[in-house]
């Protein structure tokens, strides 16, 4: 297996940067939708190389960041039940709910295991039939097919000790909400590579048409991101907004029908709450009736109190790209990576954490 080294090479990125500087005719605001883009931009120091006039805003594509506190509370409550093991992606461990996190629950004696795929959680359930294993099913269309496949496998195996808390969300509905906000001035969208591999580049066409918005689907290496930005700048210059697929090596126009079919089989769309964005119609995935027995929220006595977002936290506006982290009164004061208050500080790819970690 090879890393995509050529996409990290200065031989490719330097001409792209030169072309970007050359093409830019006016200041532009571009939102990178996906958390992995945000991380890559910071990890490679891309901001420090961009011509002045390109402002990058981080969008709602970090699954951990947009999971509401009430749902985190549900994961923690599940971990507090007797004989329950919560098997979770590492991403979630430190995310604060209204009181504590899975990390603090673990310190207090709850069984919380880090897994790398939902199938690992299922294996855990098979290995420990005397315990109930709960998988917090967060993520977007990238993780949803694997979760669906795991549910189908649990069904085939007749497992009665494997559950999920359905918390996955879908694209591109939050983008629709963002773009319809008149206060949000975004000239172009850098669309997520992984999600697009599932839903297809064409999923953004309605957005491009309705809002005259330039869209570019991009991969995650520096050259991919720069090529995406260059495409956006050119579309903006030429006033020809559309969807440019700059990641054709992974993203087909139609997406991945098999993965979409898996999602469709197991999950149904429902209205879903996004941290910082509120409830967005048809933007979440719940288990269909045939698979409801795997829903931990109905099968187990998990109770969650209603929560209010922490006072002073501006994650909502930061997620919308309306505010940069230093403008939040809690940033670097009460809210730090060691003691995160808002979701944007928790995930390593959260906008605030990324700012804290990498920016000047």
């Amino acid at each position: 297996m090879k890393c995509a080294d050529e996409f990290k090479s200065r031989d490719i990125t330097t001409p792209l940067l030169r072309e970007l500087a050359h093409s830019l005719r006016r200041p532009v605001r571009i939102m990178e939708v996906c958390g992995t883009h945000t991380m890559s931009i910071f990890r490679h120091g891309i901001r420090s190389l961009l011509p002045e006039g390109i402002t990058l805003l981080s969008g709602p594509g970090c699954p951990v960041c947009v999971t509401p506190a009430s749902q985190i509370d549900a994961f923690i409550a599940a971990a507090g039940l007797p004989d329950v093991t919560v098997a979770t992606f590492g991403d979630l461990i430190r995310v604060p709910g209204s009181r504590g996190s899975l990390a603090t629950a673990r310190a207090e004696g709850a069984r919380v295991e880090i897994v790398y795929s939902p199938m690992d959680a299922l294996n855990l359930a098979q290995q420990e039939p005397e315990r109930k294993v709960v998988f917090p099913a967060i993520g977007f269309e990238t993780t949803a097919p694997a979760i669906a496949a795991t549910i189908l496998q649990a069904e085939r195996l007749g497992l009665d000790n494997f559950f999920i808390i359905a918390a996955a969300k879908t694209m591109p509905s939050p983008l629709e909400v963002l773009m319809s906000d008149p206060e949000l001035k975004v000239d172009g969208l850098l669309c997520p590579g992984h999600v697009s591999a599932i839903i297809g580049a064409r999923a953004y066409q309605p957005l491009a048409d309705r809002y005259q918005l330039s869209c570019a689907v991009a991969g995650f290496e520096p050259a991919d991101i720069l090529a995406g930005l260059l495409s956006l700048v050119r579309q903006i210059n030429q006033k020809t907004p559309g969807v440019d697929n700059c990641y054709t090596r992974a993203v087909p126009e139609q997406g991945n029908p098999r993965a979409l079919q898996l999602i469709e089989t197991v999950f149904a769309q429902e209205d879903s709450e996004w941290r910082g964005l509120g409830v967005i119609p048809e933007s979440g995935l719940r288990l269909r009736a045939d698979y409801r027995r795997f829903d931990a929220m109905t099968a187990l006595p998990i109770t969650v109190k209603p929560v209010t977002e922490p006072k002073g936290c501006r994650c909502g506006e930061i997620l919308k790209g309306q505010l940069l982290p230093p403008a939040c009164p809690l940033y670097k004061k009460r809210c730090t990576p060691l003691h995160p208050i808002g979701p944007c500080m928790v995930s390593t790819e959260g906008t605030c954490a990324a700012y804290y970690r990498y920016s000047e």
């Binding site: 297996m1 090879k2 890393c3 990290k8 090479s9 200065r10 990125t13 330097t14 991380m39 910071f42 990890r43 490679h44 120091g45 891309i46 901001r47 420090s48 190389l49 699954p63 951990v64 992606f89 590492g90 991403d91 461990i93 430190r94 990390a103 880090i114 897994v115 790398y116 795929s117 690992d120 967060i138 993520g139 977007f140 990238t142 993780t143 520096p222 990576p337 060691l338 995930s347 390593t348 790819e349 804290y356 970690r357 990498y358 920016s359 000047e360």
Partner: protein
């Protein structure tokens, strides 16, 4: 309770303890000082500058590709001594064992400790064993302390980095950290990924022989990795440190594994590498000295020290961008979704 596992009796101080010591520990650990079984070891070393270090070892899994907890416990403490330019002379060994722990595994660990101690030529001269009830510990915990002697000629410390100095790594990065994370995750990553645990005192001795006063700082970047270690140095020395991503020695398999599980090699532990910050005039000599030894065969200059009083560490990325490196916050967590 079977004959094959450690019982509370083994830690009672009575007959079972004595048998464990004489039949198992002394079978492998044979230094004259230890075999006297006194309350402490008296060493005939006489010098006015003594280095003393202690470290506790808790690792899951206990055995991993490239090493085990026993080897780690010997090499880790030897390396802590070596990083101040000390010549290690003796080690203590304290075990906290969970009731029910397999005696066979214990023997494997003691054998490994003996092998590492012999290979490094640093004896275990005193020890202690405690057994705690089942559930009160996780298998086995090991503490080792070590003493060493330090020459008056050098003053190696985290406060001594100076603008213009070169930053050298004695070898490839993140091998230990990714090996353990992959094992914990049950991920079977093909390729030559294994822990780099090894003693560094001979490498350090060779470096100091070549460049007595040119070496300003030495650190082994264990937990927190190279990034966190350099942050500590930059703050203690009140300088900035700039790394070049292109120069970082990272095995391709390690790099791929890190990308797969969303971990940054700059924040993963090393158990057999040192960072040397030295006079730039002597950097090439030090690198070639390192490369002549097995423990330093992949040594490379990876960056430089710059003037600055905020103690910042940055990385010039392969594409020429600048990325600030902060100390690690909490344990490194895999990023998947």
């Amino acid at each position: 309770m079977t004959n094959n596992s450690v019982t509370l009796d083994h830690g009672s101080g009575g007959l079972a303890s004595q048998n464990l010591i004489s039949d198992l520990f002394l079978k492998y650990l044979t230094s004259p000082a230890l075999s006297q079984l006194e309350d402490c070891a008296v060493l005939d070393e006489c010098t006015c500058r003594i280095a003393l270090s202690t470290d506790s070892y808790v690792v899951d899994p206990l055995f991993f590709p490239g090493g085990d907890i026993g080897e780690l416990a010997i090499n880790g403490t030897i390396n802590d001594l070596a990083m101040r330019g000390a010549r290690p002379i003796a080690l203590s060994l304290a075990l906290i064992i969970e009731e029910g722990f397999s005696l066979e595994l214990l023997e494997d660990i003691i054998r490994s400790i003996a092998r590492a101690s012999t290979a490094a030529d640093v004896a275990v001269v005193t020890g202690d064993t405690k057994v705690v009830p089942k559930g009160k510990a996780d298998g086995i915990f090991i503490n080792t302390s070590g003493i060493g002697t330090v020459s008056h000629l050098h003053n190696i410390s985290g406060t001594q980095a100076k603008p213009g100095d070169a930053v050298i790594s004695s070898g490839t990065l993140a091998d230990h950290g990714i090996t353990i994370m992959a094992r914990q995750a049950g991920i079977d990553i093909s390729g030559d990924i294994q822990s780099d645990t090894q003693p560094l005192h001979q490498l350090v001795a060779a470096i100091l022989e070549q460049a007595q006063d040119g070496v300003h700082v030495m650190r082994d970047p264990t937990r927190g990795g190279v990034a966190s270690t350099l942050c500590e140095i930059a703050q203690a020395s009140k300088v900035d440190i700039i790394l070049e991503e292109e120069l970082l020695p990272i095995r391709p398999a390690v790099r791929v594994a890190c990308e797969l599980v969303g971990l940054d090699p700059l924040y993963l532990a090393n158990e057999g590498k040192c960072l040397v910050i030295c006079d730039p005039q002597q950097a090439e000599t030090i690198v070639s000295t390192m490369r002549r030894l097995d423990a330093g065969r992949d040594a490379a200059i990876i960056g430089r020290v710059a003037a600055g009083d905020r103690g910042r560490v940055s990385l010039t990325t392969t594409i020429g961008g600048t990325r600030l490196l902060e100390p690690l916050t909490g344990e490194p967590l895999p990023r998947i979704c």
